[in-house]
């Protein structure tokens, strides 16, 4: 059971890192990457809870593990949607950020 605190602290650090990246990075794609790091940290915390909740001989707690599997699939779906929205935004406005003050020309190239 020695791994639990180490990976628990790793999960906490990943949430911090991901949140920082999500706030500070300007490019949409980098924000999506940071969002995935944040999610990975949350999942790792679930994994630590699952390992700690395990029985002596029966392995880890299956309930949080199953939740993480569900979460991973939904996180993938959210990432796929976010990437497509970012690409479409880039296609229409030429923008690579979601900054409100940028001077990207609206109605750029919808011809692609």
């Amino acid at each position: 059971m020695s791994g639990a605190p180490i990976f628990g602290l790793t999960g906490a650090a990943l949430v911090g890192l991901g949140l920082f990246g999500l706030l500070v990075q300007a490019a949409v794609l980098r924000k999506i990457l940071a969002f995935n790091l944040l999610g990975a940290g949350v999942f790792l915390l679930f994994g630590v809870v699952a390992q700690r909740g395990g029985t002596a001989g029966g392995g880890a707690d299956a309930v949080p593990q199953a939740m993480v599997i569900t979460g991973l699939v939904v996180a993938f779906a959210a990432t796929a949607l976010a990437v497509v929205v970012a690409l479409r935004m880039h296609q229409i406005t030429g923008a690579a950020t979601i900054s409100e003050s940028d001077g990207a020309e609206p109605g750029g190239s919808d011809a692609a």
């Binding site: 020695s2 791994g3 180490i6 628990g8 602290l9 999960g11 906490a12 990943l14 949430v15 911090g16 890192l17 949140l19 920082f20 990246g21 706030l23 500070v24 990075q25 300007a26 490019a27 949409v28 794609l29 980098r30 990457l33 990975a40 915390l45 994994g47 630590v48 809870v49 390992q51 700690r52 909740g53 029985t55 029966g58 392995g59 880890a60 707690d61 299956a62 309930v63 593990q65 199953a66 993480v68 599997i69 569900t70 991973l72 699939v73 996180a75 993938f76 779906a77 796929a80 949607l81 990437v83 497509v84 929205v85 970012a86 690409l87 479409r88 880039h90 690579a96 950020t97 900054s99």
Partner: protein
Amino acid sequence: MTLDGVLAGVLDGLLAALVLAAAGWTLAAPAAFPATIGFVGFGLLLTLAWVRLGAPDVALTEAAIGTGATGVILLLAVVRLRGGEEEVSAATPGRALVLAAGLLAGAVGLALALAVLALPDPAPGLAAEAAARTAPLGLGNPVAAVLMVFRGLDTLLESVVLVFTVLAVWSMAPDRHWGGRPGPEFPRQDDGPLALLARLLPPVGLVIGIYIAWVGTDAPGGKFQGGTILAAMWVVAWAAGLVQAPSVADRRVRLMLVAGPLVFVLVGLAGFGIADGFLAYPPALAKPLILVIEAAMTLSVAAALALLIAGPPEHPPERVT
């Protein structure tokens, strides 16, 4: 502490340091492409961490979906989102905002770390109950039992989420492309490593994918992990130009996409008649019913993931002559 314990602690510490280093690189890399490569490395390291946490089912999912499928989508997007450096540097927040964000993120991370260290001991959990109720259903993998029986509604809704995501991605296409084939079209490769890989890998990968989906009820694996491998095999052949994506108007594609959730709902409704209620199974029939759902779901997961990787239609539909 025994020598094994010390060694395991050192290994876990190294692994945790590598995971954090890869995460740091993903954020700090100078460009999007190295950052995405860093993210894929991060995912593979995290897969090892899941193995160390006694979660082989999660490790498989992390490697297949969290790293593989997500990585492909991000890499395809990086290539298309080139440029815009000036815009990005203009939109990057100033020092004061970075400091404030750092303080906020640091505080959240620290609070979580303290919460981890303060977790109750002995830890409460449902491990014993889940394990005890898995065997009477004829299943060998408690994670599969949680996904399909104890919390089947979560999994049903998740499978519907995948269908809706495909619809949302398709709806990003301009009107005139509706009915076209999703995603970019790759030129047919007849020579080179990709051409070889796309011919040698799929036969092996299809068997492995189906096997991993099939053993899921008794061993680590299942529909999501197996379905992702099946989707990956299609993506390899697609990227080598050997197969074309089917039109979004193709009824067979749509049927494949909804087959899993549909079978899941029908078996769930049958639970009113043959068991205690929605998504309940009579113990004697539990395993066969679950395998039927898993088989249909494997097909739908593979279709959904392949379509999500391909993206919205990018060309007007071809005129049938």
